[in-house]
């Protein structure tokens, strides 16, 4: 990578080299039986050059022809893509504990753990049980002509268990994500069994406005809207409904949403982003008040802000773009049982479908429930089908009844359960 940097530096004003490699293994059990054991080994290098206010990008899987890669990136300058602002300066980064020591056991360890999870659930639920375990070790380095040389090594272990409703892959599930292999907690397996067993009967919900409990696995449908509106891109393009509202109370004061890249108690902690900008904890909403907009180098440059460490790549084949990788929502004080009591009568969104649809930046959502659980007198009485909840996050997230007392790994981050009042619920009559 150093040689690549040197070659590119001689022909441009600023250079960023990004190198990444990863090995991964994954095991799947379907319907209680071992289904797949697959692996992957990937590596690659991306190069961004900046010259005369323009930038060019190229990548390769095999860093054999360095001059060729530089030629490709320089050729891309002709397109006229505007360069981002100044490269980050080298700075002392906090030391994070991101990788666990290698563990013995090979893929047998993953198979055995899946088998244990499946065995636990199969004895407790009548439905189909699926499980997966996976692990990855990755190394990543960002090298810039401004002197940044940042490296990180990550280890990651995931496990997911699910009990599926008949005729469907809608499921009650939980996921764990850790730096090293860890047995899937029995308490989470028991949650799956208890919740599934309580909701086996199909029941009719009552359409109209009702209380809705979003479990962590469904929270991304709401958070996605907030993330879209707090990206600096929406400020620059003046399409975010939050433009000019920093310091204003937007959501319920029960809600705090923070990006926490330095939290190395969970996997994936980062002291720098994929552009080499130092990361820091960054609050989007604190007690419901809008605190700021997240940006990468490009949109910091366009909006006159400082980059705050949110330039992330999908891999070596993509340029950095605005993103949130370490989102978490502050917990409240209510256990799941408390939340169900507070819900009284209404619906639990245990999972949702179609969150990608709708006017996201405007905050609108309209999602199918997969599954939706109907609650009467604070207890789950069954599953509702052909059912949807819809609304706007800037209206509905003002009506927060309570927040759960524990975060779980879910799509887009780590979230607690959230009980909202007065949400529109539609179902087949």
């Amino acid at each position: 990578m150093e040689r690549l940097l040197e070659i590119a530096r001689k022909q441009s004003d600023a250079v960023t080299v990004y190198g990444a490699s990863e090995t991964q293994d994954a095991v799947e059990f379907e319907n209680g039986r071992l289904k797949a054991v697959d692996s992957g080994m990937y590596s690659g290098t991306a190069l961004t050059v900046e010259k005369d206010g323009k930038q060019g990008f190229a990548y390769t899987r095999n860093l054999i022809d360095r001059e060729g890669l530089v030629r490709d990136a320089l050729a891309a300058l002709a397109g006229g893509v505007e360069a981002a602002g100044p490269l980050p300066r080298p700075t002392a980064l906090p030391k994070l504990d991101t990788a666990a020591a290698a563990q013995d056991g090979g893929n047998s360890l993953l198979v055995d753990e899946c088998r244990r999870m499946v065995g636990y659930l199969s004895g407790r639920v009548k439905g189909q049980v699926n499980a997966m375990t996976a692990r990855a070790v990755s190394e990543l380095r960002v090298l810039t002509s401004s002197g940044v040389d940042a490296k990180v090594r990550h280890s990651h272990f995931w496990a997911n268990a699910r009990a599926l409703y008949p005729g469907s892959y809608s499921a009650i599930e939980r996921m764990i994500s850790t730096k090293a292999f860890k047995p899937f907690p029995d308490v989470d397996l028991q949650f799956i069994a208890d919740t599934y067993n309580a909701s086996m009967n199909e029941v009719k919900g009552v359409p109209g406005r009702t209380r809705v409990l979003f479990l962590p696995g469904a929270m991304y449908a709401l958070v996605w809207r907030l993330a879209a509106a707090t990206a600096a891109k929406g400020v620059y393009e003046k399409v975010s409904p939050l433009v000019g509202r920093v310091g204003e109370q937007i959501l319920s004061d029960k809600l705090t949403l923070v990006d926490k890249p330095l939290d190395d108690s969970v996997p994936g902690a980062r002291a720098f982003d994929d552009e080499g900008t130092p990361c820091r904890d960054f609050a989007l909403f604190e007690r419901g008040t809008l605190k700021g907009f997240f940006c990468d180098r490009f949109y910091a440059h366009k909006t006159g802000a400082e980059p705050n460490g949110h330039g992330w790549r999908g891999g070596v084949t993509s340029r950095p773009s605005l993103g949130l990788r370490h989102l978490t929502m502050a917990t409240g004080e209510q256990s799941l049982a408390d939340l169900l009591k507070l819900l009284g009568r209404g619906v639990v969104a245990a999972g949702v479908m179609g969150a990608h649809s709708g006017n996201i930046i405007h905050g609108d959502y309209s999602v199918g429930l997969a599954p939706g659980l109907w609650v009467e007198d604070g207890g789950i009485v069954g599953v509702v089908k052909d059912a949807m909840v819809a609304g706007n996050v800037y209206e509905d997230m003002k009506n927060v009844v309570a927040v759960g007392d524990k975060v779980y790994d879910a799509g887009m981050g780590r979230f607690p359960a959230l009980l909202l009042d007065n949400v529109s619920f539609a179902a087949r009559g």
């Binding site: 797949a36 505007e82 469907s168 990608h356 539609a426």
Partner: protein, 454 residues
């Protein structure tokens, strides 16, 4: 190339092995509003092993040729672990080992067009949208992707196929006060760059719809009868029905498999559905899948009766059904899985006006905004719609998502139009992205859908 691959193939100590090598070349151009935010032309490559050992079946992807031996060893170890660990023994349906080379005939090869000319074209399209005073921003992107694929197997298969995909599309955002609305557009295909040229009038029509949406009313939640346009009906066919026709989805889901029996009457009498990757000129065209099997059309439903299923070699043997050539990978990073190629509802005889007249009162829903299924239930977004009274479309509606049950909806399709169109841009995300996933349908009348709304 074949010599190097044949040499590598000898590294796998297995009962069967195949090796796929791909070079992927991609040009992409992206605008966000008037800002050119990305332009790149790059090439990359990688390999995928698949091995069968003692009935265990494993896939390992790798990117560096020097890792070939380590990757082969890992694949064999995984396969042995599966065999020891109680996985159902895998058999592969027999196929004659194909030896062939195929390059598509293109109407204007994007690889021969200078990047500057592509950039000018995208800028011009983007400008059509941005010139309207109510358009706040756009996301406009162009891509052309070439997958240059080589496939060898220990059975003697030796294939080289090129797939060239071109696409231009994105989203238009209009704004009035604090209200924003979004409409998507997309042109493209597998038969050359000519597909994305001369579409200015269609883009202008999309801009008009997005502007009109600023005056539209949010739909009211409830249960409705509805006419779905070609785009929505095509997405329904893909998401709700098509995925259940993929044998790998249902093979270990007994409660679904027992309903999806060939010969079962699942749909209304007017409903026939086909998947045909070999249909010329459409987005999902290919000749051989990524396990070296020649693709063929499959009649999935005829007059409401389930009549076929999409298979890999492994699932064809497992189900005891004919091989179809539908095992496809996104690119060199993935082992192939069963995918639809080009799934569509066969057209019948009704015009759109006749369907609206048959609807009477209800909704006319247009243009999909993505869909998702949980198996028996599905949810799709519609970009816009119209209230229909007495068979006449009236006021425009927005914020529309529909939900339904697959089996009920298949029976609730009470009439099918004569105006089938096929989608030009793809993006199915079943584990991997299939940007060539094609679907289509004529207009259809559905007797019951649940619509979410405030």
């Amino acid at each position: 190339m074949f010599e190097q691959l044949q040499k590598m193939l000898g590294l796998a100590r297995a009962d069967y092995a195949d090796l796929r090598y791909e070079v992927m070349r991609e040009t992409s151009i992206n605008f966000s509003g008037r800002e050119l935010t990305g332009l790149s032309a790059s090439s990359t490559d990688g390999y995928v092993w698949r091995v069968l050992k003692n009935g265990g079946w494993s896939v390992v992807a790798f990117t560096r040729p020097e890792d070939a031996e380590r990757a082969a060893r890992s694949a064999v170890e995984n396969a042995e672990l599966l065999a020891r660990g109680g996985a159902r023994p895998v058999r592969l349906a027999p196929v004659p080992p194909a030896q062939d080379e195929y390059r598509p005939v293109l109407k204007e090869d994007p690889r021969q067009v200078p990047t500057e000319a592509k950039l000018d074209m995208v800028r011009r399209y983007n400008g059509i949208a941005l010139d309207h005073p109510k358009v706040a921003t756009t996301q406009t992107g162009y891509y052309d992707i070439t997958r240059d694929k080589y496939f060898v197997s220990t059975e003697g298969a030796r294939l080289h196929e090129e797939l060239v995909t071109t696409g231009l599309g994105g989203g238009i955002v209009t704004k009035e006060g604090s209200l924003t609305q979004t409409v998507r557009f997309g042109f493209g295909g597998s038969d050359g760059m000519a597909r994305v040229r001369g579409r200015e009038a269609e883009l202008a029509e999309r801009v008009k719809i997005c502007v009109d949406l600023l005056e539209a009313e949010p739909v009211k939640a409830g249960e409705y009868r509805a006419v779905l346009d070609q785009s929505l009906a095509g997405v329904f066919t893909h998401e709700a029905f098509g995925h259940f026709s993929e044998a790998d989805i249902i093979e270990d889901m007994p409660t679904i498999r027992e309903r999806m029996l060939l010969g079962a009457k699942l749909g209304s009498d007017v409903l026939s559905i086909t998947d045909d990757p070999t249909r010329p000129g459409q987005l999902g065209f290919y000749r051989y899948d990524d396990e070296g099997v020649a693709a063929r059309p499959v009649a999935l439903m005829r007059d409401g009766v389930l009549s076929g299923r999409l298979h890999s070699r492994r699932t064809a043997a497992e189900f005891g059904e004919p091989i179809t050539g539908h095992c496809v990978a996104q690119d060199y990073r993935f082992g192939p899985i069963i995918r639809m190629g080009c799934i569509f509802i066969e057209p019948c005889d009704k015009t759109k006006e006749e369907l609206l007249a048959a609807l009477g009162d209800g909704l006319y829903l247009c243009n999909h905004m993505g869909g998702q299924t949980s198996g028996d239930n599905f949810t799709f977004g519609a970009q816009f719609g119209f209230e229909v009274k007495g068979g006449k479309p009236g006021r425009m509606l927005r914020d529309i998502n529909i939900s339904g049950n697959l089996y009920a909806t298949l029976k609730n399709i009470s009439a099918v139009g004569n105006d089938m169109t096929l989608r030009e841009t793809g993006g199915c995300g079943k584990g991997q992205v299939n940007y060539r996933s094609c679907n289509g349908a004529p207009h259809v009348l559905v007797d019951s859908v649940v619509v979410g709304g405030r």
